[in-house]
């Protein structure tokens, strides 16, 4: 006799994680496309030589503001106001831009989540300290702080390695980027920590650290994951503002932010491609991250899956 009481949900094929993940992906083609876009830019960041043979620093001024010539031409995407090849600048700008975005968002997320979790869980003086610090950082204008950091590092030679060129903007942007994460996580921690499953975990003898990391955090992180993709866009464009002050990505390295900043002057001057090329790349990256962020949130929250 067959067991009729077996619920249908349990009757599905034995779990094979790889196959399950692939099936889930096939059901969401946008995730595949988004992943491909991110992969594409990641490859570009790692191996810029694959995409262009032109140096972004070869800028003959007589070739300034050439229109895009299409594939096969000397300047497939044209040249910018100084005569530099737009495609080459774009390709070589990927690494600093994306690295900066990932480092800034990653570190601020870590700081914000840690402080928010501690503040929300322990309350008392920990919360007082964290909340006041958040408020202090929120009221200091970004540009003022940027100028301060600039003066602190004046005359310090940081070198021109991959990390060195983004160090200054990274410090400034992290310093002023962690507060939203701390606030969101603190709020969701306050909500989650009084729920029964936290009490239940405690009744089974779980330590504070375990409760915070394994039980509170996964339930508190949801609001923050939605914030991440737009933060990446914010970091890339904020870097442009900083470079205007001379503390962005250090020349001769270049970035999308700098390109967008420079290109915006020529939108009405007959050379919109200088702005459009990096802008389209930025928008594509951010959209891809938004889609991946959604997929990530679904994967983290089993209630939304299936």
């Amino acid at each position: 006799m067959t067991d009729l009481s077996t619920p249908t949900t349990a009757a599905r094929a034995p779990a094979r994680p790889a196959a399950d993940a692939w099936r889930a992906l096939r059901r969401r083609p946008d995730t595949v496309i988004a992943a491909a876009v991110i992969l594409f830019f990641a490859v570009m960041a790692a191996f810029p030589g694959l995409f262009t043979g032109t140096s972004p620093r070869a800028c003959p001024i007589r070739d300034a503001r050439l229109d895009p010539q299409g594939w096969g031409g000397a300047h497939p995407l044209g040249t910018d106001a100084l005569g530099c090849d737009v495609l080459a600048t774009l390709v070589h700008g990927v690494r600093p831009s994306l690295l900066l975005a990932v480092v800034v968002v990653g570190v601020s997320l870590f700081i914000g989540v840690t402080l928010g979790l501690l503040a929300g869980y322990y309350l008392g003086w920990v919360d007082y300290l964290v909340s006041r610090t958040v408020e202090v950082f929120l009221v200091i204008p970004l540009l003022l702080a940027a100028l301060l950091v600039l003066s602190l590092f004046q005359g310090v030679d940081l070198g021109s390695g991959t990390f060195e060129v983004i160090l200054l903007p990274a410090i400034v942007l992290i310093l002023f980027g962690w507060m939203p994460y701390a606030r969101y996580v603190r709020a969701s921690t306050l909500e989650a920590k009084n729920l029964d499953y936290v009490t239940a975990a405690r009744s089974l003898g779980a330590s504070d650290l375990r409760i915070m990391v394994r039980h509170v955090l996964p339930n508190a992180i949801g609001t923050v994951t939605a914030l991440l993709p737009t933060s990446v866009a914010g970091v890339i464009s904020a870097e442009a503002v900083l470079s205007f002050l001379g503390i962005g990505v250090r020349p001769p390295a270049t970035s999308w932010g700098i390109q967008i900043e420079q290109g915006s002057e020529w939108v009405t001057g007959g050379a919109p491609h200088i702005l459009l090329a990096p802008l389209i790349c930025l928008v594509a990256t951010v959209l891809a991250l938004v889609v991946l962020g959604d997929a990530l949130r679904d994967a983290l929250d089993p209630r939304l899956a299936r």
Binding site: P7, A15, L204, P218
Partner: protein, 366 residues
Amino acid sequence: MSGDTSAAAASSAADHDGVVGPGTPLLEVRDLAVEFRTPEGNVRAVDGLSYRVAAGRTLAVVGESGSGKSVSSLAVMGLLPDTARVTHGEVLLAGEDLLSLSRREHRRRCGERIAMVFQDALAALNPVHTVGYQLTEALRRRRGMSRRDAGRRAVELLDLVGVPNARGRVKDYPHQFSGGMRQRVMIATALALDPDVLIADEPTTALDVTVQAQVLRLLAEIQAERRMGLVLITHDLGVVAGMADDVTVMYAGRVVERAPVRDTFGAPAHPYTRALLHSIPSSGAGGDGEGRRLPVIPGRPPSPAALPTGCAFHPRCDTARDVCRTDPPPLEAVAVDRASACHFAAEVLASHDVPPPVEHEEAAHD
């Protein structure tokens, strides 16, 4: 599903219990008092609660909402919120006072020696982890069990509590279970570390009536099998009649009556217990009572912040006299194994005002 077999097991377990008799107390609470800090000052939620539970015995703690029954169990488990503190009393687990231990040591005993089943299983299971993970988190962490062994143990535990197709369901999330199954998972989680004492805080309140009976039967069965001490916190006297050996009735943070279940239900020694028993609806009793209104206890339980003088129950009591308004009655022995906190306990006990028989859970729902 597994109802028929467990019913038989439960009834045989109950018989078995009667033969064993009371052993040494596993858990003993002595004169426990818990206070909450509020803007209006300190409020005493539990005042002088004492009880003892022996291996293989079930103690029911009964009372209305706000009588302090849940707070007392949180105190035993060291789970009181920051605004509450234990002002005096002892919680002895096999002779060791839990309340004098450090927070860390207290927490180590929890789960290992004493575990708790919560009222709302959906809220008490973490929505982002599979039930298999939650069942074995403590085992993996505290016993250093390998992932593979833990997986096997999770299936065993689910089997133990009668979740069908346990192997297929360990990878499921709490929201994929029905209410009754979820409460079974909750019980399995509490049993994972093989505790000596289980505190069940209104384990069936969130369930519908037919499922309640199944879950209670499961609890009784497991308790008898493992010779655990069970503290059953409830406001359902039907559950008490079906499950418990002893009963402690609480009112406004104090114990008003303590007795073996059979004795209390036959002849209560406190007016509050008597009134509670009278206010149970019964289908069979009182043939002439067609259309008769169900007796209720007038008024409402007092706020712990503003307790009446004297006996806290006197404003609602049908036998209250002048002395009740001024002198709080002490909890005193009225018979063998029985105590009541009433100035007129002997009178109430002797009045032979026998309440209608309370239908047992099994009888009521099968």
